[in-house]
């Protein structure tokens, strides 16, 4: 940061955030694939649970990966 003063950081927020989104992603993906399919009549026949599940897993991986790299860089 070009800052001479050392800063004390809290734990990395990306870890709880990534974990929560990952949990949601898996839950929605599994429910979207194995759950009832008639509930998608209302959502214009899109299996949004599976779609959103995949999206959230991708997002979660990005957060967790970046947290992991940050930690490695520190060491």
């Amino acid at each position: 940061m070009g800052n001479t003063e050392p800063r004390r950081h809290f734990f990395d927020l990306k870890i709880p955030l990534g974990s929560l989104l990952g949990f949601y992603g898996l839950l929605l993906l599994v429910y979207g694939i194995f759950g009832p399919s008639d509930i998608y009549d209302k959502s214009a026949h899109l299996d949004v649970n599976a779609i959103w599940g995949v999206l959230m897993i991708v997002l979660s991986s990005a957060f967790l990966l970046s947290a992991y790299r940050g930690r490695k860089a520190k060491k």
Partner: protein, 541 residues
Amino acid sequence: MKPVISLNFIDYMILGAYVLITIVVGYALKKYMKTSEDFFLSGRSLPSWITSLAFLSANLGALEVIGMVANSAKYGILTVHFYWIGAIPAMIFLGLFMMPFYYSTKVRSVPEYLKHRYNEATRGLNAVSFAIMTLLMSGISMYAMALLFELTLGWSLTSSILLSALVVLIYVFFGGLSSSIYNEVIQFFLIWLGLLPVVYIGLHAVGGFEGLVSRIPPSFMHVWQHMGSASDNPMGVDWLGMVLGLGFVLSFGYWTTDFLVVQRAMASEDLSAARRTPLMASFPKMLVPIIVVIPGLLAVALLPQFKVVPGGPTPDYNSALILMFAHYLPNGILGLAITGLLASFMSGMAGNVTAFNTVWTYDIYGSYIKKNMPDGHYLKMGKYATVFGVIFSIGTAYIVQSFPNLMDYMQLIFTFFNAPLFATFLLGMFWKKTTPWGGFWGLLIGISTAAFHYLMYQMHFIHYPSEMAANFYQAWWAWCADFVFTIIISLFTKRKEESELVGLVYGLTPKAHSGDSLFRKPAFWGVLSLVVMVVLNIIFW
């Protein structure tokens, strides 16, 4: 009335996981809370990506989300004025010009700045009115949220109120502002991820963006074209009222002086990060209409009860978002959407609570009740203030339940205080001849002008095409009164020594030279943000 939404076990698992993680985050931060600055200002240690998302999230409360979807169903795309002209210029101004005075002087709150720049009386006026307003506000939004959940989910009012208040209390109690900010970032993502599916499915169902345009009134799709005169657009506001009232006074008053948002930037790790906080936040801010304006437009296009029929009954616009959820979201994603709403509610409430406990502890308790106590005493007081702040909010929620009309009055009264304050800051920061008593009396006259204008309007001495126009012009005149009288009174009262104003006023403060690279330079982000905003306004002209 039968609830329109029924959740199943998947939905409840999603809600439960959210509640759990907020508490875990709060608890995990507990061990870092050693001094009062850790608790109230996150030890000024957070990177700008975190503070800027929190900056945005604290403002994106549930009332805001529900209300703006309702506005979009009622007025169409005109609602983006609240996000573009009504926020972006003010956020840029805060980041580029005002943040150095807040951050470099190491003041701990907005009222504390007023004390240094003006005097104790000005600080007291601002601190007390702000503390009361934040608690009332958090009670009002708690009630509105609980009412919505009662009608749509069938949850009892008391269980919604207690659940949400308790969760916020726990995480703020343990981790203070840091906990509030960390959770606001999580909430930011949940609000987006929870609201986007209804946009996606809705646009799919209506046949894409063109399908949407073909099914709503043409005036719903233009931002400026129908602003020439108040009678041409559904809001009943002309362009001048929009620019002066909303774009200038209300927006600058809120974004640059409201401690609720400014506190997030003050928690940044250094001045450059503090300045970038509102600037970086301005980009997602410009995109918020995707999740609030489009659902409102989709409700008009897709749901028969929102079709505008001349002479027909007025639709209940506040239910637009929930009805879209009920019609288009299957279980699973539905739970995520409700979690997003709950998250937006909690972020708004925690924002209020953390701003309150700081102003109470530093500016009221520490200044008038018990001065010069050891730091640990104030840390403890901050925790107590969190508890009684939440209890007071719950009380307000129940009072509003018995007198629902109070809600409108209170929200209105808040505008009396917010609008003129920006004049006091503007003169204080940029004109060194502004005197302490000039600031105090100017502010008081500004507030009184707003109240007087409101009375005149209520008694039909002044007329406006719409309630909203009255509001915007009221803000404008209150600002003018504050501005003019602060100057006049300053000419006749005693000034502060220039040496006392170093760091507080433009021109008496050495310019901070930042050796930052281009992408860390606040000016770069400010200019870019302004350009994007102008382009957006032209595209949707």
